[in-house]
């Protein structure tokens, strides 16, 4: 008698087209809520830009804001951060309840795992779909910024790239969380309220991080959103964003590492959850 399968070797070989079939399935489902998701993607930036950029921005620009922001208008200052935060929202939103329900409530992932498609391919397909949702939202956000004249110069479109990277890095880790949760028990609510919201507020989105007391500044440094904001702001404003080149590289490395480790952990989690 031999002992087999200490690691799930059943997942080792790849089924060509498996990941694509999973993306195709999720896109087919997306069509059901395409209109609402696209109108949200355009409507939300409109509201934020009107309220924060123009409304609050008029006050900030008249006060001491201009100096603290390095001579940049408030609308221009927050626009890249708003795009990045919106990308994060979409990424987190898609990878929390909807993806978790495919393990737990609809059990769709279990159905797929009975086919030649491997759990790793399911994980990859799910994350690629999240990326597609994020890119679509970020491009629309960029177009709205363009209409407000707050989209930056020729490098501005790179905000879409940095925003997508930030969102997918976080989404991969949430997918990993999905794969180990046996009951939801309000975990996602805690995640939204006590991680995502503070992250959005204290990551240099609406005011520079150097306004945070030095003892608490680490909160921004560990926040993926801060790394994304610095990249996006530099893409839009160039040197006026005041981020040294070496730090830009560091931001990119941190976000890529977040994504890389997240994908590895999520794949392993999907394997363990679906091949028991």
């Amino acid at each position: 008698m031999t002992v087999h399968d200490t690691s799930p070797a059943t997942a080792a070989s790849r089924w060509p087209g498996g990941t694509r079939a999973v993306v195709e399935y999720l896109v087919l489902g997306w069509r059901r809520y395409l209109v609402s998701s696209l109108s949200e993607a355009v409507g939300a930036p409109l509201l934020y830009l009107l309220a924060l950029g123009l409304g609050l921005g008029a006050l900030v620009d008249r006060g001491s804001g201009g100096g603290a922001l390095g001579g940049v208008g408030y609308l221009d200052y927050i626009a890249p951060a708003l795009l990045t935060a919106a990308a994060l929202q979409v990424g987190v939103g898609e990878s929390a309840y909807p993806a978790y329900s495919r393990f737990k409530w609809t059990r769709v992932f279990l159905g797929i795992s009975a086919t030649p498609v491997s759990p790793r391919q399911i994980a990859d397909g799910q994350l690629l779909f999240v990326a597609l949702r994020v890119v679509t939202g970020a491009v629309l956000y960029y177009l709205v910024l363009l209409a407000f004249g707050a989209a930056g110069g020729g490098w501005g479109p790179l905000m879409v790239v940095s925003g997508t990277l930030t969102a997918c890095g976080c989404a991969a880790w949430i997918l990993a969380l999905d794969s180990v949760l046996t009951s939801e028990g309000g975990v996602f609510n805690v995640l939204f309220r006590f991680v995502i919201v503070p992250m959005t507020l204290f990551s240099g989105s609406f005011f520079p991080v150097d306004r945070i007391p030095a003892a608490l500044r680490w909160v921004a440094w560990v926040s993926p959103l801060w790394h994304g904001n610095e990249l996006a702001r530099t893409a839009a404003l160039g040197g006026a964003a005041g981020v040294p080149a070496a730090r830009l590289l560091l931001h990119a490395v941190v976000l890529l590492a977040l994504l890389g480790t997240g994908v590895a952990v999520a794949r392993r989690g999907f394997d363990r959850r679906l091949l028991r």
């Binding site: 008698m1 070797a9 790849r14 489902g29 059901r32 159905g111 009975a114 086919t115």
Partner: protein
Amino acid sequence: MGRPGDRPSVITARGLRKSFEVKGGATVEAVRGIDLEVPAGQAFGFLGPNGAGKSSTMRMIACVSPRTSGELRILGRDPAVDGVAIRARLGVVPQQDNLDEELSVRENLFVYGRYFGLPRARCWQRADELLEFAQLTEKSGAKVENLSGGMKRRLTIARSLMNEPEVLLLDEPTTGLDPQARHVLWDRLFRLKQQGVTLILTTHYMDEAEQLCDRLVVMDGGVLVAEGSPAELIAGYSTREVLELRFVPGEQTAAEPLVAGLVERVETLPDRLLLYTPDGDRTLAEVTERGVRPVSALVRRSTLEDVFLHLTGRSLVD
């Protein structure tokens, strides 16, 4: 075990075991060394109470659960090495439906075909064929969440056939369905069997096992406790007939010593005595001769249910 025939084996297991780590570090042995041999084209059933290890065995056969030890070959290949290639040739009907409720009936089939790498046009075509087979053509565009339980089950079976599988695994295919829906499903499964598809199913329903299965195993506590065709199991583990004597609850204990020795086995239930006998009418005459006066008496043929209860006991498992 198993009988060598002219047809090749679809499933071969030797000393197959599965254990799980549960919370707290304890190990549960779900399957404790079973041997199986299922030839192509057979309808093979797993019977057993909840927790007997049927579903764990089915998951190992479906190549979604690595075995702990022992040998297993599905379609001549090792699931630990060729799981992907084997799954491409299997159809799986899980215990709980896992359809996408948001998609339409037809889209569910299309999407599933894509997982097997079928071209899009072929997926739509196959979906339409299977909707007809499952008598769901009229529901083609309906959302799955609006279907009845029986329809969802038929759709799940249709979905499992998208890749024209050689082996169809059905885990409690008719649990929770009304009699009409069960009969429609049995009819469809019978047709598949006639087309040469090997059927492997688990069930709690003895009538279902008798209707569908050429051969059965009874599992209990992770091991096989009996094996054979339905007729062989009845012949081997029960008598030809059963005489049921019904009493006012409590009075059956008084009658028990009177019928002792008449037949090879007597079972005492709260309101009945069951006498297992080759000839029920003759035993009834003998019982009456001994002065036993039941409220009513019934002679019936032995069923698989008698075998099942004899082998796995009457007490609840969970």
